[in-house]
Structure formats: structure tokens, C-alpha cells
Subunit: 353 residues, 2 copies
Amino acid sequence: MVSKDVKADDVVATLGDVCAARGLDALTARLAALQTLLAGDLAEVEAALAVVAKNGGTPAHESARHLLELGGKRLRPICVALASHVGSGFTPAALTFAVAVEMIHNATLLHDDVVDLGDRRRGADTARVVYGNAASIFGGDWLLAEALCRVQAAGVEGVLDRMLVVVREMVTAETLQLAARGRVRTSTSEYFKIVQGKTASLFQWAMFAGGRAGGVGTRECEALESYGGMLGLAFQIVDDVLDFAGDPEATGKDLLTDLREGKMTYPLLLAVERDPGLADELEANCRGDEVSVTPEIARRIGRVMSEGGVVQDCLALATRMCRDAAQSLEILPASQARSALQDVALATPLRRK
Amino acid sequence: MVSKDVKADDVVATLGDVCAARGLDALTARLAALQTLLAGDLAEVEAALAVVAKNGGTPAHESARHLLELGGKRLRPICVALASHVGSGFTPAALTFAVAVEMIHNATLLHDDVVDLGDRRRGADTARVVYGNAASIFGGDWLLAEALCRVQAAGVEGVLDRMLVVVREMVTAETLQLAARGRVRTSTSEYFKIVQGKTASLFQWAMFAGGRAGGVGTRECEALESYGGMLGLAFQIVDDVLDFAGDPEATGKDLLTDLREGKMTYPLLLAVERDPGLADELEANCRGDEVSVTPEIARRIGRVMSEGGVVQDCLALATRMCRDAAQSLEILPASQARSALQDVALATPLRRK
């Protein structure tokens, strides 16, 4: 239990460290306050996640447990918790939704790792490496089914309906992403369509469900959802940037993984736009839907990412989105939770893992 | 369209043919009447299934389309349709549920084939052979998500809630079945637990949802559900028998597939009980969780299946269950639909594909 609490604290602490390292003292201090605000809630979430798949006793449940125990940023539960504090606070329904949103997220990761034949995640072997593909497929199915039952049992009007639509949106985005693999000449609108479905929609749901669980009114819930959508897009853009410019020690995964898997992310699309010959070189190195990354390709991409200003421009876009996200909460009455959500948004483009 | 209609008719016609071949003239005549009763409904189901995954345009959607187009017995939609006729008939909600139940069933098959590395189904290459494992995983996810959204949109009270619980039951059974693979010395209670979750629960839901869509009352819906549960168990036992005693031409899959995949079905459990040395021989031929079926093992199993009376006893049990299923409908007022359901139950242990 104690170690779980520490892990939950770490999440917010990491955002704080990053800010501190960059001299953003005021933001650091505010994120420390956020940590105090959420410590109890996140400890409850961790305690609940720790037992989710513990008693299943099958390799599929072990897969789910393995992934859940590796932690992760828990940003979606943080969204649920903060949204609930915009209303009456972290109710039992909010706890249910915070746990469910992390279960759904992990369900998609289990299937993604089988689909991508991924070996490493969160600095450890993936569940499929430890327990096999079959266990990961059924582990993902089980996490999804269990999460839906929990959301249903919470009985908060409209929340399950929205969840089902979001799950369909997420899966549809995964089908599009799979179809687009290895297609070097794709469009930014295709990229944003995929990211909206794959990432932003679940952040939107987290904010909506948290708000509803805290008894927040319809108009305010719409603002929370809008925040969630923009935060989710920005979060994914930063994630995609970290594939090229991250520290594998911190992110827990190798560099250029997206590229090798033939996934054209926003930074890559900008890179191809600024170095037109790059598309030909990538296509020439496509094997099936994967890209064989030669040292020349890695160097060429590294150059356009830094000297061509791609990383800078991606982070600028993410920053703009996060400012819009923070701005969208201005219709809410001022509160500690509102400020905390705005701080989370402002810290998101600064994250390094 | 026309070919689809023919396919739907075929399903019921097949049950009729079997009965005719065995001299059960009265049952044959009644199943012909059933065919007339359902022809319109099943044509609507086929038309709807034909467009389910047509416009997705990704390999995942193609996987789903591939499997749905191969047909199958459509027994679950038949259950929905007949249950609806116990009430006011095949309403738009009943059509939605009939389509959704087949989508859910096919979603599980897509994942099963990836988990089992299955190459053939319904007499054709599996979707994973044609479109790959990744497309089949996301194809299954998509079918499930889409089916849940459709059930939700139908807005019939209690039907979505029950569906979610059933999906969790099905997935849990799959996790148990996977965990039990290659374990030769398992129990019949474990077998029935798996079959209840994997097969019977969805038949129960089909009957419940059809009844609710037709406005059938609570007590009558319970009888329909009870029928569905027993029919589902019997259906699965017959399926498992056909793995040993079926005609691959008719069933569309090779003999002894379950055995090779290390799945201890009811006939196998009886076989091991009646020929105790068989367990040792199976264990000696286990490679991981698969059984390498030597000609000696095949002969030995064939002997106990026929001379040891295993096939006969399994079919006797299925027949008893089907009689109980038919019996459970006696609380309903007499109607053409009730008789038809009873006939479907009586014909189930006679099916040969």
C-alpha cells in the first residue's frame, strides 16, 4: 500500500520536478499544492487498481495485473479526480470512473502491444512477452468488459452511454491507425482524426465522468469535456515528440518506436514536409508496413527535428492547445480544482516522460 | 440480397433435412413451418449483417466482414426472433438485438482464432489468415464496441445492462478456457462453468433480449432465458461431439481440433474417465498446452467414443437438456413461436453441422 501511495505522488511530483528544472517556480509550487489536494484520491485509485485483476487467477488476469502494476502516469484518473472536485468532490462514483478509465486505457495498451509486437513498455517487458499474446488479448477483453460493468453499476445518468460511444471511437481510431501503417504520405487531418479517437476521446470522457460524479451541471461539464479533448490532443503530440526527442531512461521505451512501426505521427509529418526527399527515403526503407530505420535515416530525421525546428513547432502547438484547454475552464467559478486543472494543462507540454 | 435470403432459409432447412433423414416426419414438417414464420425476419437480419462492416474501409473491418459473410448457423438471431414472436413480434428493437448478438458472437470468434492460431472456419480461411492477426484483434474489438452501441441505442430497459454482464461472463470463460488448455485432468464442473460463460450466457441473452423487444413480461422472459441457457449448453455439447464424430465437409473444420488445442471438452472428459490410461497418453503427448495427436491416440479415442458409448451418452445428455429447455416454455401460452422454439430444441441434438 505504502509503495502505491508513493507512486501516485510521484506522478504529480514529476511534473513539479520538470518545472523546477526549468525555473518555473510559481507553477512548481502550485503543482505541489495539487499533490496535496489529490494525494488521498490517488491513493484510493491505486489501492483499487492493485486488486482489479488480482483474484482472477488466469494468465489473462495476470497480463492485466502485470501492466497495471507497472504504474504509468495515471493522468486519466487525475483528470477524473480533479473534475469531480470542480463539483462536490471525489465521490464513490468518481473513484469508480477513475479506476475504470485507467482499466480501459490499459485494455487498449494490452491489445496494442500484441498488434505492434511491442516488447517493452514502462521500462519493463510487455505483458505479451511475459504471459503470451493469447493472455494479453483476453486480458484486454476482460479489462474492458469489467470496466464497462463497473461504470454501469455506478448508475450515473449518461456516463455509460458516453463511455460506449468513446470505446467505439477509440477502436475505430485503432483500425484507422493500423490501416495507415507504412503509408508515409498521409495527411495531418488523418493524424488528428486518429489522435482524437485514440487519445482525446478518453480524456474527454474522464473529465465528463468526473464532473458528473461530482454533480457538476451540464454547461460546466461541456467545458470540462472541451478541456479534456484539447489536453488529450496536446498530450499525444508531446508523446509523439518524445519518440524522437525523449530520454529512453525516463520514457521507458526506445526512441523511434513509432517510426519503426510505420506510424506517421505529427512530428514525422512535419519532418517530411520540411525535408521532402525524406518521404522517398522512408518509402524505400518500408518493409511491409514497417520502416527499417538506417543510421542515415535516423540522422536525417534528427537534423530536421532539431535544426528544422520540428520539435519546437510541435511543442509550440501543444502549448497553444494547453492554453486553450486552460482558457476553456474560465466559465467555471474560480476554485482550487479549476486552478489545478489549468496547471496540469500548462505543465503538460513540459513533461519529459 | 437473394443469395442472403437463401442462406437464412438454409439454416432452418438443414435442421429439417437432418430430421427427414432420420424419419422424424412430424418434426420435419413443423420445422418447415418455422422456416416460413422466420423467412422475413432472417432476411432482414442478413441484409443488416451484410452492411455492418462494409463501409469501414480498414483491414480490421474487412476481417469482420469476411467472417460475417461466411454465414454460420445464425442460431442466436433465430433465438432473438422466435423469442420476440412470443410477444408482439419482430420489432425494430428485435432486429437490432438479432444483429447485435451475431456481431458479439463473431467478435469472440475473431479473437478466438488469433488465440488458437486457427486457420479454417466455416469451410474457409480464417480472417486472421486473410487479413492478419492485428486486423482480427481490432476487428473483434470493433464488432463488440459497435454491437454495444447498437444495443444501447435501442433503448429497451434492462437489455444493455444484461448484455454487459454477459460479455464479462463470456470473456471470463475465455480466460478460464485458456488457463485450462493442456490440463488433461480437469473436472466436468470446470467444463460446464466454461460452457455456461462461453456459450449458454449469450443464448440466454438472445432469448431475454428478443422477449423484451417483443414486450414479453418478466416471468415469461425468465422462462425464455432458462430455455436459452439449456439450449446453449446442449448446443455446445453437440459442437464438442462433432469435433470427434462430425463430417469435416459439413462442419467446415477439421476433426480433433479441440483436442489438438489442448481443450478438454465433455466428450474427452468422459473418454478419459472410461479409459483411464488415456490421460497418461495425452499428457505424454502434450507439447506446451497443445496435444500432438498420434494415430494411436486418434484410434484409442475413436474406440472409446463409439464402443465406450461416449458419443451416445453425450448426445443423450444434450437431448435431456433440450427436453428440459422445451419443457421450461410450458408456462407460456401456447403459440406458433412457442412450438417453434420447442422444435428447435428437439432438433438441436440431431444437428450434424
